[in-house]
Amino acid sequence: MALVEIRNVHKSFRRDAERIDVFSGLSMDIEQGSFTALMGPSGSGKSTLLNLIAGLDQPTSGTVRVGGAEVSAMTPAQLAEWRSRNVGFVFQQFNLLPVLTAFQNVELPLLLTRLSKKERDERVRIALGVVGLDDRLQHYPRQLSGGQEQRVAIARAIVADPTLVLLDEPTGQLDARSSQEVLSLLGRLNDEFNKTIIIVTHDPHAAERAKRQLHLDKGTFVEQARTAGTAAGAVG
């Protein structure tokens, strides 16, 4: 069953007088429980596609559905609510709030729920436990290594138990060892917790961890490199 359905999406930007078409009729599906890597050269539209799926950006035309909800038709307020329940997002630059501790950073998405303080505490401890940082609760981002920061960001992305976890170059700022740790963690999230994961990456080693690799170039899928497991969909 497709969790993400993208149908005939067009996306263009204006740069001064010039119109830049990123997608011209893109369609694809991403299955529930899949682990997909989006690859491609810079400017191919990988991050734009991720942003469209997360509802951070809107298509010029076409539809984006996630879990049956038409993301591309939501108002900013509806999108905020929907994102808080359904999407976890991890950025290349970690983007933790520097003035908050690891615990407080991870707690942020839960402040949008009706959970009690006690329930929130429990969830945060579990999420930081999953990423192996339950001994760093009161550390500020500046007191953590890059790999640890990214793991905190992943804990923040999964703490509200979203259906979909989106990661934009999550290993782009990490050394080889930290990258391996993060990728292993993503594999666990997919295998053990059945999270649907979409990762944008330039790194072939990172992409190899995914069960499905999609290559984008100039806004179209040029190749479906590998399909591990059952994930399959209309690509074009």
């Binding site: 942003n51 997360a54 951070l56 950006d57 900013p76 307020a77 905020a80 609510e81 929907w82 994102r83 808080s84 329940r85 997002f89 950025f91 630059q93 983007n95 709030l97 520097p98 003035v99 908050l100 407080q104 942020l108 998405p109 402040l111 949008l112 923040r156």
Partner: protein, 387 residues
């Protein structure tokens, strides 16, 4: 749930210099605001405390101040025989027919600098009628002698006001036999002597006013109606407290308007300071704002968060302003009371209400200054900001 305030508080601490300068700017405005209102407050309080609810002040009809009034002995006699006048020991009326004169006195240290000072000729009963007046040093002037009692606020500010010293006015020497306090009221800026001594010395042929204690404080309206209708006299009757409160109205209002105008202009500067600081904060934290929006916080939560941050900085400024203003409390100053052109000394009065008003004013400045930057924060383009 909203973005936790701790995020704002800690973010503010990340840029201590610009935050401190903004808070200081707001603090200075608040200090001036409180200071000027404390001045108006102190002046109004001094005059309000001068009058008592239990006392009645009688002036010639149409006179708007004691200086402009005149009551002859017959009128005073008719008025004091009223049943509304309280009686003291031996059945004597608790009434004080008073001579009210303003004299120029040279100031201590530079006697060429003159100030108008009130000399009040009072009866023996005045000390009972004015319950807030108390001699704290020396003994009251004796009957038939050129002796005076000097109000606390004048002592040391004019030559010859010390106990046992001699003052010269109205062509005579006057021995200072006592100093009196009057609960911070305008009486403390007066010189009191016996009315029968002051009257001839000042070449007066009558009194200016009559102050008396009401037999029943609740019967003021009736006393006023009866006395003003009495064919033997032509007088206006005031409750003493209301009369002196009214005397402070003109200058008090001008001081308040000045306070609002001056601090209003200064506030514009402080608001621009807050705008600048908050725009810088929003610009430097655009990626953080984008993260919050990505996590699902609504734009209005971002708006509220940055407004709260601006208000927190301003509230800190408000506290600074209150601390700067507090030492002004009790500082004695003097001004010319426009109702009688005499010098009235009084203390700055920084009240809890005034401090609260200062804090509220600070938060209002912060909220106004933070609004447009906060609105910009709520509209941060997520995709661009996150890159």
């Amino acid at each position: 749930m909203k973005i936790p305030l701790i995020y704002n508080v800690r973010s503010v601490r990340q840029r201590p210099v610009s935050t401190a300068l903004t808070a200081l700017g707001i603090g200075l405005v608040v200090a001036v605001f409180i200071g000027m209102l404390a001045l108006a407050n102190g002046f109004a309080t001094a005059l309000t405390r001068t009058g008592s609810e239990q006392n009645v002040l009688v002036l010639r009809k149409g006179a708007d101040s004691e200086m402009a009034s005149n009551l002859d002995r017959d009128a005073v006699s008719a008025l004091t025989s009223s049943p509304h006048v309280a009686r003291g020991a031996e059945g004597r009326a608790l009434a004080s027919p008073e001579v009210y004169v303003v004299i120029p006195l040279g100031r201590m240290g530079d006697t060429t600098q003159l100030a108008n000072v009130v000399v009040r000729g009072v009866s023996e009963q005045a000390w009972q009628v004015r319950a807030n007046v108390a001699v704290y040093e020396g003994t009251r002037p004796s009957t038939g002698k050129n002796e005076v009692c000097v109000g606390k606020r004048l002592v040391g500010r004019f030559p010859g006001t010390g106990l046992g010293e001699t003052m010269r006015f109205a062509g005579r020497p006057w021995t200072v036999t006592c100093h009196f306090a009057a609960a911070g009221s305008a009486f403390e800026s007066e010189i009191w002597g016996e009315n029968e001594q002051i009257m001839p010395a000042m070449r007066r042929e009558g009194f200016q006013s009559l102050a008396f204690r009401l037999a029943d404080p609740a019967s003021f309206e009736e006393a006023k109606r009866l006395l003003e209708a009495d064919k033997r006299v032509t007088v206006d009757v005031y409750r003493e407290s209301a009369f002196y409160a009214k005397q402070s109205e003109l200058l008090g209002n001008i001081l308040r308007i000045l306070a609002i105008m001056i601090t209003g202009i200064m506030a514009v500067g402080a608001i621009f300071g807050a705008v600048n600081t908050m725009y810088a904060a929003v610009a430097s934290r655009a990626p953080e704002i984008a993260v919050l929006l990505t996590l699902g916080f609504r734009p209005r939560s971002i708006l509220a968060s940055f407004l709260a941050e601006s208000a927190v900085i301003a509230a800190a400024g408000g506290v600074i302003g209150c601390l700067l203003a507090l030492p002004m409390n009790g500082v004695v100053t003097s001004t010319t009371n426009w109702a009688n052109f005499s010098e009235t000394a009084f203390s700055f009065r920084v009240t809890p209400g005034l401090l609260l008003a200062g804090l509220v004013f600070a938060v209002v400045m912060g909220t106004l200054g933070g609004f447009f930057p906060a609105r910009r924060a709520s509209k941060v383009p997520v995709v661009q900001a996150i890159r």
